[in-house]
Amino acid sequence: MAVVKVDKLAQSVAKGPSLMTGAYPNKSWMEVPVVFKPGNYAYPTKADKLEYLDSQQGVSFPNARDWSPEDDDWKLPENWKDIILQGLADRLDRFRSLKIFMDCCVRCGACADKCHFFLGTGDPKNMPVLRAELLRSVYRNDFTLAGKILGKLAGGREMTVGVLKEWFMYAYQCTECRRCSVFCPYGIDTAEITMMLRELLHLVGIGINWAMEPVANSNRTGNHMGLTPQAFKGNVDFLCDDVESLTGVRVNPTFNRKGAEVLFITPSADVFAEPGIFTCMGYLLLFEAIGLDYTWSTYASEGGNFGLFTSNEMMKKLNAKMYAEAKRLGVKWILGGECGHMWRVIHQYMDTMNGPTDFLEVPKSPITGTVFDNAKSTKMVHISEFTADLIKNGKIKFDKSRNAHVIPTFHDSCNPARAMGLLDEPRYILDHVVDTWYEMPENTIRERTFCCGSGTALNTDEIMELRMRSGLPRANAVQYVHEKHGVNTLGCVCAIDRATLTTLMDYWVPGVEVAGLSELVGNALVIEGEQRQELTEGLRTLV
């Protein structure tokens, strides 16, 4: 929070209209320095995590140290500026998209008011165009002829510690949700600019712990939580017991089973924390109902990939375990659970990074015979596509009355919606598992969906205020359908959503719960031989 200016406060009370509310400096954005204070930044990476990661093959995370964003001195390496400029030169050389994005923006402003961070804060540096300008100004200054000659006149500016601090502030006030890109006439992918900013910051040891600790854990045990194979299996076993006591159906999933037809990979939060575990029970029931020949992997035990929020090398390395496990276990194809950014990595980068997968087959549903040609390159099918296909072919039965306690709306999770076009399958599923559900207003759904405000490893509690204000545009639309139609459930297909929208709803729209789509499927699913208790709250019912 801002510091109270007591003299101004007294003056305003004594003399009339307040100076407090409108007293912001009206300076050029380049001249307004960032101020770090508790609540507006995520904690830096712990030095031991970074040291561990730096010791690993294929990735580089140098300059580990203890530092605080609130200190003047960030203990940067002496040649930090050379490192950053050389890093930028390397990336301009390697990534043609970055070069184009640096050059082609005409500052039309179409993106400016589309960012949930800008809409929640009114901070101009949260306009995507200006956030990109933080990098672009340095690019102009050092990498373009006009900038080299004209400097500031050509929109260039020198790389200084102040600029670096600004990068840290705003690269972590972007969730890479890509809503702005939908509106950009040039298709500039601002998420990739944020990715570059974060990569450059990592070169001088600057990053956030909430991203890097899960990355370190994933690198070591395969999942964000650092769960060992035994703990991972143990958690799923607990869920199987819960499923049995709720429905009378005993599910017996297998782990690391060679020769299974399908490998199933989902975010580890699904087996670990509420409300993801209810989604997981939904998967378990569905697979039992159709008799799917599948296995879990205790190493590819995480669909999420915080490498995406870190560096392209890290993303590639963490992603590689999916195909490695598929190969080791000899499965035919991979089925993926409800996760957001996992699907962006799969759909946009996986094949290039870790493909081609000639050892896998084009996914074919063993139940319906449907061939998923859309997944020909990655060999991975989304659980919603898979479920919708089962419904369409009449292979599963539902009793909608089992979801009578639920009046849902559907939140299009950013990445499945914008990065893989998963728009209609979840809606088709909802049509079949609940009596009625309501759409939020049209400029807040489908490709134009608003982010939960806590993606890209910003789902940490120390920036709670920031998360609440960036999540406001989403919550505002939920509030509308809550008040108009009595909506009490926010359906989604993303693990970060399930965790963070729950908190967002607690603050903005109390009375709305968050549920994974597969949980609603599990609630309504009719299975032969089941002995369901009276489950007034579906799979969440305490029995």
Binding site: L9, M20, Y24, G120, E274, D506
Partner: protein
Amino acid sequence: MELAGVLAAKQKQILELWTERTLDSYTTPGFFKKSRDLFANPVGVQIRNTLARLFTLLREGAEPEALIQPLDRVVRIRAVQEFTASQAVVPFLELKWVVKGVLGEEALQAPLVAELNEFDCAVERMALMAFDLYCQCREQLYRNRLNELKSGRALFTDGGCPSRFLDAETAREADGK
């Protein structure tokens, strides 16, 4: 109730100034003031609509309880933005000056003075209610933080995997280096 009539007649100017001043508390208020689409511009439109509703309620002498829900809508937004507590709730207090500014000389004339004093009291009461709501919002935030910590969603286990107990030297030996 002469004042009620005057306030009704001047409602448009009062709301314009009140909204303008409130939205001016943001660094880049241009868009917040311009866009009238609730879903494209939640901060601007929620504040604009809610101030209008609050003013109408005050003008009509509504019971204080009726103000809570609309007040909460604005306070809840400002409680998570980069304002101090006083900055967050000061717009409500400012209504006094806004009204006097718009009424001008008229506000000093005998028939209105007494009624305006009462109106000022109602405005002050509203500002105090806003402060209570602000505190509730902040408490809710702390509860949210605790709930997240307790839920297990925030847990990254620091133990469990035997490999992490290897010291650096043993690890190097194990790697054959």
